[in-house]
Symmetry: C2
Subunit: 510 residues, 2 copies
Amino acid sequence: MLQTIPKWGIYEISLKGPIGGNPFIEVELFGIFSYGHRKVKVRGFYDGEGIYKLRFMPDIEGIWKLTTLSNCSELSELTFEFQCKGLEAKNHGPVKVDQVTHFIHADGKPYYPFGTTAYVWNHQADAMQRKTLASLKEAPFNKIRMCVFPKYYDYNTAEPEIYPFVGEPLHISNGTFDGSEWQVKESGFDFERFNPKFFQKLETQIQQLADLEIEVDLILFHPYDHWGFASMGEVNDIRYLKYLIARLASYRNIWWSMANEHDLMELVGQKKRSAWDTLCKCVIAEDPYQHLVSNHNFHHPPKHHMDKSHWYDHHKSWISHASIQHDNLFLIPEWLEEYRKPMMIDECRYEGNLNHGWGNLTAQDMVSQFWKAICHGAYATHGETYFNNDGSIWWSHGGVLKGESVKRIAFLRRLVEEEQLQLVPLGRESSHWETAMGISDETVLIYLGGSSQASFKQFDTLPDGKSYKGQLIDTWEMTMEPISGEINRATKIKLPGKPYMAILLKEILG
Amino acid sequence: MLQTIPKWGIYEISLKGPIGGNPFIEVELFGIFSYGHRKVKVRGFYDGEGIYKLRFMPDIEGIWKLTTLSNCSELSELTFEFQCKGLEAKNHGPVKVDQVTHFIHADGKPYYPFGTTAYVWNHQADAMQRKTLASLKEAPFNKIRMCVFPKYYDYNTAEPEIYPFVGEPLHISNGTFDGSEWQVKESGFDFERFNPKFFQKLETQIQQLADLEIEVDLILFHPYDHWGFASMGEVNDIRYLKYLIARLASYRNIWWSMANEHDLMELVGQKKRSAWDTLCKCVIAEDPYQHLVSNHNFHHPPKHHMDKSHWYDHHKSWISHASIQHDNLFLIPEWLEEYRKPMMIDECRYEGNLNHGWGNLTAQDMVSQFWKAICHGAYATHGETYFNNDGSIWWSHGGVLKGESVKRIAFLRRLVEEEQLQLVPLGRESSHWETAMGISDETVLIYLGGSSQASFKQFDTLPDGKSYKGQLIDTWEMTMEPISGEINRATKIKLPGKPYMAILLKEILG
């Protein structure tokens, strides 16, 4: 009887092969998965102890055949068959771009990202990881930004338990962060030998997140390094990407975030800007499923805040969506118009109480950022930077969420999902930053801002000749109440004269 | 016995002259005021009913002589003498630029502008004017923006009791504002004949404000017009300026604000942009005392918010200080660096509850704008746009102040005056909008922003090697408490983790 794999599940086969020499370098393995006339070529990987693996995520029900190819005869020209059948609960397939600036699962279920950030929760002790997963289970977040590599940065000076490569760190932090250590001249690790246990652990974590229906915006490179992982050079980078993708691409909840703050890596001399084209091309060439790809920026100079010269060029064909760090979300409509891709505002300051400007946003303003992003036609990512007594901070270590924004973000997510809002910008006030207004079919959602307290509003950018029923939303108190009467572009809508209000309008169909 | 005039008081002489024809056009009168070898030529004006006047503000004690010049023989070559002696209470002389980006009275008393806006309080009924003056007496404002001409705009559709020219309006509003009426093709007024009573009233109001120690930022032109005053043409504009300046320049509390929203006048076709150079040159040529001159902008496009193409060029030599409308005060340090003149942020949204974005700022954010302006090395102007049941709004009509920002602005003004702070920017966080930090001699004032809630801060832009004693300020609660210990650039200052906080640092001198 044939092995059965659910649609967008993972088919995996283990093969015994050579254990001597350096299998990571010396052995090449591919699988040709075929379905009817369709053939998909997938890279295999060495998983240690003489075991070689091939993984595959089938996207159509029926009989799939596999033939292996290898430079090692015992691994080559083996054939297998399996049946793809049925669907797992909670598995809606990978996320793709939909309607130019939105997202959808492969099964047609709309996906509205409400992200959070816990960069290296996966590198913490097991007890802490369990806490993080328990928090995520209760939280409204369906996407998480997290790093493959461990992190060395302010508030992040502990060594991880396990490393991606064979070797040992040459430097152990004294507990005080020193940014100059990011320029690593000599590494204690052998970049030609992966540590399979490291990646097995990462896979477990990705699966745990899949079980929670959380997309993994996996950060492939980042500058917060003192091991040399940020500056391995192109040959090692490419080998790492191929190995990582061979292992992970079959997880339906993977997104490839090329870097966190790619331009900071340039700034501190870890990677040239020109490196990213090569690395991106490698990712899309190696990934049989064309998971989402983005490249996140560091620089967003407020004084020249329309200057995007430090951004990776989101126009490039291999970039599926813009992953943006910026705290002025008023600019989203321009970005949408320029790039015509989904805008993930993956950093717009975090709710917390750190000294750093990026990490001391009030809860009110964190919620406000989400509403602005959504009503301008984009999506936002949360982070929490309250310093805990145990030294942990959600943004990096995970743990427990204690902020006041989380439940308000949950309120917004419910609204967006219930109303199935794929908003596009619908005009805005020309001279101020506050009002954000989007339309999705017959529904209009308007956010009035955190520094505005209008006692009434009129929206002359509403479509001409249309009438609406309205709901007044207090985004902070999480209340909705009907607005009496019909509303059109000439209506003066009475408001309570306080900040953090929003309006939901649903067209009265004739 | 000689008439005695206090220093910076007003010497005025009335002469009888021709009453027939058009004295405004036909009669020219000048006074040559001399003191020792110094001669000051001052234009006289016709005040109606056969009376011609000359006014003069002496700035030095001693005997001044006057000789008249006129094309009318009965007014020419008359000579007079008076003595300038002593000082009036509350008269510190006109305000000048000091220390590149600050202000000072002629007597050396520092002047820190804390402005408000009541554009046409002077055109309201007497009872309302008395209310306004009573409000100003209690308020912290020492500068007011107000218009010579009446105003026709949203919430401003009533006709004034008196007009600056002889004639009658051709259009009377039906109570609903219609912006298209700003394009006046035909006026019911004779721009060649001033109405002296109108200007006498304005003089009374300017003197009332002088008695309250309030500087008058007098707006000479504005677009909110349906009488034709905004589009009289250059010949009439120049005649009006000469007449106005002849009457008002001797008031020590006058500033010339060439326009409110000069570029809006261009936009609606009332004046070409090139007109302003000519009008400014006229003002500085006619004003014997070189009162402050500015020209206020309308446009401040948020999406290209560094774009200053719609600003009048504040570099021009006749501009004493930049009068700016903008709501992003993070940019002040760049502006200071570019123009090297004082920055008056004369519009940065008003506390209120109107539908318009410019008029529905929360009290918290109005206070925040003042703190940002001051700590970045500039000055701000308040406005209040709560809609009252009698149809009045402080920002335009004056009346009663009811906002929550006023007393917090008073708190800030007291601090600035007590500490004598002429702040210049002292670095700032590179990537976020929030912290504003200025230094004035041995004192540093830091505002931490309305969306930030740091639990501690370290300021590595503080001067190297210096130590400070600190005060923690809650700008909203208006409290100050000492910070224990000495503070330097390496000190982590503990904070309460809430928004609207500031820090005052005073250097410990060795």
